[in-house]
């Protein structure tokens, strides 16, 4: 099953676990292929997962219309993919736009859910081993925010991240800056 189809199915079923899995799979694929459509699918899946987890959003007046719009857009996207056509415009201008609208009217945070998705998925790309700049270039995440977020994870505790001992690196530093004043 293609990603958009999986996404539509998971959203209809309100399957939070599946939406998160789709988001992660899409971003991992995007990291490898640098496909912007796959990045947008990842962001959309994550944003829908977050919106579905908020009772006040599900109980709002706007929710039913939002679900109809997103479902229709995903169906249209699937049809375009069947014809071998690009879906980038649809994903960004329609679905992400719809998400931003409902988030703006109902969200409790200054940061919108798509921005949060960019940061989370950029962190995922960095965790895979790609550079910070690469993660930002692929997702459009904010640099300052991403660095703080990464700092609070265990990414830098993983094996194979240490290339020199502290003693050696500090020796190098003293060689450059000079010995104790």
């Amino acid at each position: 099953m293609k990603m958009l189809e999986k996404l539509r199915k998971a959203f209809k079923a309100k399957n939070l676990t599946a939406l998160k899995r789709i988001s992660n799979q899409a971003i991992e694929r995007a990291a490898l292929t640098e496909d912007p459509e796959m990045v947008n699918i990842s962001l959309i899946a994550y944003a829908l997962y977050k919106l579905l987890s908020k009772p006040h959003v599900l109980e709002s007046e706007q929710w039913e219309a939002f679900v109809k719009d997103v479902d229709a857009d995903l169906a249209e996207g699937m049809a375009l993919q069947e014809k071998g056509e690009a879906v980038g415009g649809l994903l960004e201008k329609d679905i992400i736009n719809d998400i931003n609208k409902i988030d703006a009217s109902l969200g409790n945070y200054v940061q919108d859910v798509i921005k949060k998705a960019r940061m989370k998925q950029a962190s995922r790309i960095y965790a895979m081993g790609l550079s910070l700049d690469k993660a930002i270039a692929l997702t459009g995440a904010d640099r300052f925010q991403l660095m703080s977020y990464i700092g609070a994870t265990v990414i830098h505790e993983r094996p194979f991240t240490r290339t020199k001992s502290v003693v050696d690196r500090y020796q190098t530093t003293k060689k450059i800056l000079g010995e104790k004043k």
């Binding site: 081993g129 700049d133 660095m147 830098h156 194979f160 991240t161 690196r169 450059i176 800056l177």
Partner: protein, 219 residues
Amino acid sequence: MKKIVCDSSSLISMSDNCVLWLLPEFGVEFVVPEEVKREIVDRPMKEVRFQFKALRLSRAITNGSIKVVTDSGVAKRAKEIVRLANSLFKYGRHNVSILHGGEAESIALMQKQGIQTLLVDERTTRLLIEDRVALRKYIERRTGFNLKLNKQIAGQLEDEVGGVDVIRSSELLAWAYENGLMEKFGRDRNVLHASLYGLKYSGCAISNEEIEDYMKLLA
């Protein structure tokens, strides 16, 4: 005066911990390529949430703590660095694209200006320079991908970046502590511990174990 090229990650960690004031105390010149300046000042200035962070870094440029170097050959050199880095590993038919932007320009600036030291807090650039085998193992372990290494590219990269000294903001802070520059915060070992963790939580790629190693070494 010796020079150190900085990428954005190291300057952001230091700025977030309000230790940019230390830069003139090290007795070396900290330089950045234009792309790094765009990353730490120009772009974040457009978003109100990050404007003050950008202003702090902009001030460090204005007061001479950080120097922006314009070198017309840097962008072209950076493209070559990116090409090499992003053809190093292959998964199936895909090259694994690992490097971008300011990181590549920082390396390019070092080459164009004959500078040997890079100040970088993010992890991948450091691994690319110091240990490409470890980088491959890291990516394979995290992704489950079985990567193929392009030996010719690896050789070319070694020629490009072999011999580069890489340090992090944590090394600068450790030196500052050992040399009494942090005494306004007190003289006890907690100053070193707290400041290194401050950098870590701001994104510097230093592990808990490495911080404890610094404590044994200096405190």
